[in-house]
């Protein structure tokens, strides 16, 4: 069974009198260990889809299961638990808490998981080491470069050993060199067995993923397997 399964999922928003069909019937399966890129122009519904997949929102109709758990009608608390235990997020704008240092930012998901402080520290340090920022643990985000901030965000996404990592335009705020490094980091994680779903509007970035899911007007219009990429990007 696939890790993520969407069956005829729709999402409607009401903006004033107008009803917007952000997603108009999506069927999608993502298996364990896949590296998929969701691509589409702005307004295509890709962010809405990502929010649903990331358990930040629930669909209007249709069913969605993640890791065997039906989350299409889950309560807000249940969704929070899913996000905490099974999902890691990496955002375009990093979304680090500027009042906390690197270690504390990475520890955040563990705090809400109720993990005791000694274990928390150990796990957070391990995650920080994976992204190569061990010497910056006591710095605050504002003392870091964009690339470093995104690495902290990745460490935070990894710290709870999630089933899936979602990345929403992770390179959008970075220059192309740094962006390439970050992408390489995702590919490395993928090689180590993580399931990664990446949302982008950039074909070049989508091409680096193993699978390319193209979305337009709330529907999947193209779902292809990319040819294997050379290691060096």
């Amino acid at each position: 069974m696939a890790l993520i399964e969407l069956r005829n999922v729709t999402k409607r928003y009401r903006v004033g009198e107008q009803e917007i069909n952000a997603l108009a019937g999506i069927d999608l399966e993502i298996a364990q260990g896949e590296f998929a890129a969701i691509i589409g122009p702005s307004g295509s519904g890709k962010s809405t889809l990502m929010h649903l997949l990331g358990c930040l929102d629930t669909p209007s109709t249709g069913t969605m299961t993640i890791d065997g758990m039906d989350v299409s009608r889950a309560s807000s608390n249940k969704l929070a638990e899913m996000r905490n235990q099974k999902i890691g997020f990496v955002f375009q704008s990093f979304n680090l808490l500027v009042k906390l240092n690197v270690l504390q930012n990475v520890e955040l998901p563990l705090i809400y998981a109720g993990i005791p402080s000694s274990v928390r520290r150990e796990k957070a340090l391990a995650a920080i080491e994976r992204v190569g920022l061990t010497e910056r643990v006591n710095n605050t985000p504002l003392q870091l470069s964009g690339g470093q901030m995104q690495r902290v965000a990745i460490a935070r996404a990894l710290v709870n050993s999630p089933k899936i990592i979602f990345a929403d335009e992770p390179t959008g705020n970075l220059d192309s060199n740094t962006g390439a490094t970050i992408l390489e980091m995702f590919r490395e994680l993928s090689r180590q067995g993580s399931t990664i779903v990446l949302v982008t509007h950039d074909n070049g970035i989508a091409a680096q993923a193993a699978r390319r899911i193209e979305i337009r007007d709330g529907r999947i219009v193209n779902d292809t397997i990319n040819p294997p990429q050379p290691v060096a990007a």
Partner: protein, 454 residues
Amino acid sequence: MNLWLSLLVGFKEIWAHKFRSFLTMLGVILGVASLLSMFSLTAGMAHGVREYITQLGGIELVGVIKQEVPVEQEYKWEISPGRTVADAEAIAKIPHLVSLVSPVVELPINIIAGPNNFRYEAQAVWPDYLPINKHNVAFGRPLSWLDVEEAKHVCVVGRLVVDKLWPDRPDYNAVGETVLINQRPFTVVGIFEFYESDRDKRRRELGIDKASAYSSSGNLRSPSSSSYSRSSSRYSSFTRKNSTVVMPISTAFYEFKSANVVGKEDQGPDYRLDRLIFQVADIDRFKETLDRVADMLRVTHRGIDDFGFDTREEWFERNEEYIRNVRASGGLIAGISLLVGGIGITNIMLASITERIREIGVRRAVGAKGRDIFIQIVVESAVIGVIGGLLGLVASLGVMKILVAISPGDNAPVLEFENVVISFSFAVIIGVVSGIYPAVKAARIEPIEALRYG
């Protein structure tokens, strides 16, 4: 997220906005300070009033008073002898319920020692009169039963009387001196201690009111100013008590009451009392005691209901109620300022969550439940309440100092532990309650909305 971490986050958040947090706290600080000062002021007032009542005999003291006879007894009222010493003797026979009793005859007197001559009112009494009225003898001895039985020409006088009669001898121990009371020689056998309220004592020690200044060693007082010494503390409620002259009631009857000449005719001896006072032994059996005494008096008064009771219970109750009212209204006003402080907290917390909406979104995204966000905000505003409350307690000490400095003569505020606890708890409750609305609002923010923001 556990409570400890929430507290830590709360403190950090407050520390990050020190000035803003302080301004927010100011409402709570002022509220708590005024609440506690208010409570302490009324506690001081209550203390003063209770002290005064106790000095005057406390609520155990009951007076038997003359009263209009009921209409149906009007035709035969004359068969009642009125209040006499026989009443006192009857009341004294009631076992257990009455601890002390004394008949009182009030005599306008002219008291002379050497060249000095004053008008006073003397109390002709039994020895019980002294303990009933909480009199203490500083020099010499109190009245004794022997004085009464033998109708001795002795008297016990108050401090101010001695001060007036021997103005150039401060703190004179006049025991053994002979004075003339209405032309009869009396020996002073005792002098009462000087009575004053805590408030007057403080005034005197601070030397605020020169006129009432009193030095126990006397060297601050020149003979010329002596008439301004204790005697002129005319504002004091204790002046009357300090001007007491007591003598045995039997002596008064023999010397001053054996004849009652109206016009050219002697009406015979007058045995009527001006007052009849007794002390209730057990305040819990107050009503029962009064009933028993009334039964007794109905016998001695031959069934005529021409007497009643003058109790301080009502007076005492009135005072207590008055103090309760002052406390309640003052507490209400102080409570309102505390409430305003609470609204300030709510306001700043609302601003704070708007400012931190992205932080809330991030926390939600990594797994914080609505409940976690709720707790975080409530704890933060509770911390403001707690710190504000503590600072308010400290501030109230200052406020009380200022109040004492402004009017040192008044009853000193009394800081009671209970009131400290009430004021502080009020601050904490205000802190928690004012955080609830912003916290609910913050907890309800949808994570995607929060992440989209800004």
